[in-house]
């Protein structure tokens, strides 16, 4: 049993990789080959789809837009969540538990019907079709998550650390930046990773709040698919490229993810 234990994760990873292989496979084929028949690997290997995406501004601007608002959202979410998580982990205050649960309820609101009020709200304050609009809107579900994760990590740091620092004459902001933040660095990494992930994969709100200037790549994909028929090769290449930023980020935080959660209040 123990000796064959590695088979379970191996088979699972195989299961995860097969659809991704199929996507890559199609992205290297011509549309004719895709629609013409069933081939396990590209017979006429072509990079035409990728060339089209990387040279056509309509396509590559989508990637730039997505990366801008995702980065801004991650920065805002983590920066706002840090002091709040500290408050939740160190103090009891009026209505704290209810506030915490209320924050979580914002992950439960179905985005589908909030789409229209969101559109009108951000139009009313003149932010429609800007990167900051999407970054702010994604705070709705990312800030609660960041607070939740960071609170766990902070509760793992003994309170004596804070008290010793105050006795040594540290002011609160200096203590927080110089001593406390390095202690929970892996927690910040994990929280940032999850904010990046949920902002990167969300489409409904991002699509509602943008039209031209800040349109995310995922929305461009749906538009192109309906406008010029079934350009499967192009669609597959665009899809394959949306995996790249995520893969880069996960590579950088891979050690944090394993150790990271363990340090938290898990």
């Amino acid at each position: 049993m123990r000796r064959l234990g590695w088979l379970i994760p191996a088979l699972y990873i195989l299961f995860l990789m097969v659809p991704i292989y199929w996507l890559l496979n199609m992205s290297f084929k011509t549309t004719n080959e895709i629609l013409g028949g069933f081939t396990l690997w590209p017979r006429n290997f072509t990079l035409a789809s990728y060339r089209e995406i990387l040279t056509n501004p309509v396509w590559y601007n989508g990637y730039i837009n997505s990366i801008i608002y995702v980065t801004v959202n991650t920065l805002i979410s983590v920066a706002a969540a840090l002091p709040a998580a500290y408050a939740f982990s160190r103090y009891r205050f009026l209505g704290d538990k209810h506030l915490f649960f209320w924050l979580l309820t914002n992950r439960m609101a179905p985005p589908a019907v909030f789409a229209l009020p969101f559109f009108q709200l951000y139009s009313a304050i003149g932010l429609f079709d800007t990167h900051i609009a999407v970054a702010l809107a994604h705070c709705l579900f990312n800030i609660p998550l960041a607070v939740w994760i960071l609170e766990g990590f902070m509760s793992g740091v003994p309170k004596e650390v804070d008290e010793t620092a105050y006795i040594d004459g540290y002011s609160f902001p200096r203590f927080f930046v110089k001593i406390f933040m390095p202690l929970i660095a892996s927690g910040i990494g994990v929280a940032a990773f999850f904010c990046f992930m949920f902002s990167w994969v969300e489409l409904l709100l991002a699509k509602t709040l943008t039209s031209v200037e800040a349109k995310p790549i995922a929305a461009i994909m749906t538009r192109t698919a309906s406008a010029s028929g079934y350009e499967l090769g192009l669609l597959a290449a665009a899809g394959a490229l949306t995996i790249v930023p995520g893969a880069v980020v996960i590579y950088f935080v891979r050690n944090y993810i394993a150790k990271g959660f363990a340090l938290g209040r898990v």
Binding site: P9, L16, S89, Y91, R92, R107, V113, I257, A258, A262
Partner: protein, 287 residues
């Protein structure tokens, strides 16, 4: 940990409160306002009272969508949670392969949701998709025609997409167990089941709460992936709650009924999540 009472802590929470309240409370109030009125566009509204709520509560269409939603959510929870825990238990605890496993497993989580739908859409096509082709050599499979096949594909897609989240969380819980615990268990001659039941499961409890809550909430609101994969079809076979909601709100532009439906939807999620949260946190206070 003993926490001190300090109401000035509110100042630290203010930024979060302002940002979330701006995004949550204003749209929520607007949805409530819509739900009691009729509109024909141009911001002209007529008060209708609770008629939309009555309509939605008595509509077979809503009952059917809610039934499908509950079926979907509890099916994927029943598959993903045990599967995720089993994979986390079988994973190596240290060394080179840990990183490889984690990076590869996290990949599906980082793919935009409509791309996930698109991948499975082409992967399952009966004529040119790998899955469709393979299944068709054993049995008759066509997810755009057969409701059963559509459901099978939908659930397989969700398992593919989200089981890794459970694995990551469960694995993190396992990592926090000191080696001394396992050595002690070995000396006592504990069976693998006893190790799981009395050492591993209690340590994973908290992360499993997070995993179940997250998977429950997210699967209950799932929209993009099934919308791209099947569009709710064939017929209405895979029309989950939020797909139905968008069909009413944006397809037919019936804002009132859609708003009433989303409030009922939100209240159901709120109730179920609160029950989950309360039941699972019950043990926390006594430790």
């Amino acid at each position: 940990m003993d926490k001190t009472w300090n109401n000035r802590a509110w100042f630290m929470v203010l930024p979060v409160l302002a940002l979330v309240a701006f995004n949550a409370i204003i749209p929520l109030m607007t949805v409530v306002n819509y739900s009691v009125q009729e509109t024909f566009g141009d911001n002209v509204f007529f008060f209708e009272g609770v008629i939309w709520f009555q309509q939605v509560l008595n509509s077979d269409r809503f009952h059917a969508a809610l039934g499908r939603q509950l079926t979907f959510t509890f099916t994927i929870l029943a598959i993903e949670i045990p599967l995720g825990v089993a994979i986390a238990l079988a994973m190596p605890r240290r060394g080179f392969w840990v990183s490889v496993c984690l990076v590869l497993m996290a990949l599906p989580l980082l793919i935009p949701w409509n791309v996930v739908g698109a991948i499975w859409n082409i992967f399952s096509l009966p004529d040119i998709g790998l899955l469709g082709r393979v299944l068709n050599s054993f049995t008759h499979y066509n997810y755009t025609r057969e409701p059963g096949d559509a459901w099978f594909t939908l659930i397989l897609m969700d398992v593919w997409h989200w089981t890794s989240l459970v694995v990551l969380l469960a694995y993190a819980g396992l990592q926090s167990i000191p080696d001394a615990f396992y050595q002690a268990a070995k000396i006592d001659g504990a069976s693998p089941w006893a190790v799981f039941r009395y050492i591993q499961l209690p340590k994973m409890k908290r992360v499993l709460i997070i995993a179940v809550l997250l998977r429950f909430m997210d699967s209950f609101m799932i929209y993009t992936e099934p919308a791209v994969l099947t569009g709710g079809g064939p017929g209405n076979a895979t029309t989950l709650l939020s797909i139905d909601l968008v069909k009413i709100a944006l397809g037919q532009f019936d804002l009132g009924p859609a708003a009433a439906m989303s409030i009922i939807y939100f209240l159901i999620v709120l109730l179920l999540s609160w029950i989950f949260y309360t039941v699972m946190m019950r043990g926390e206070g006594q430790q």
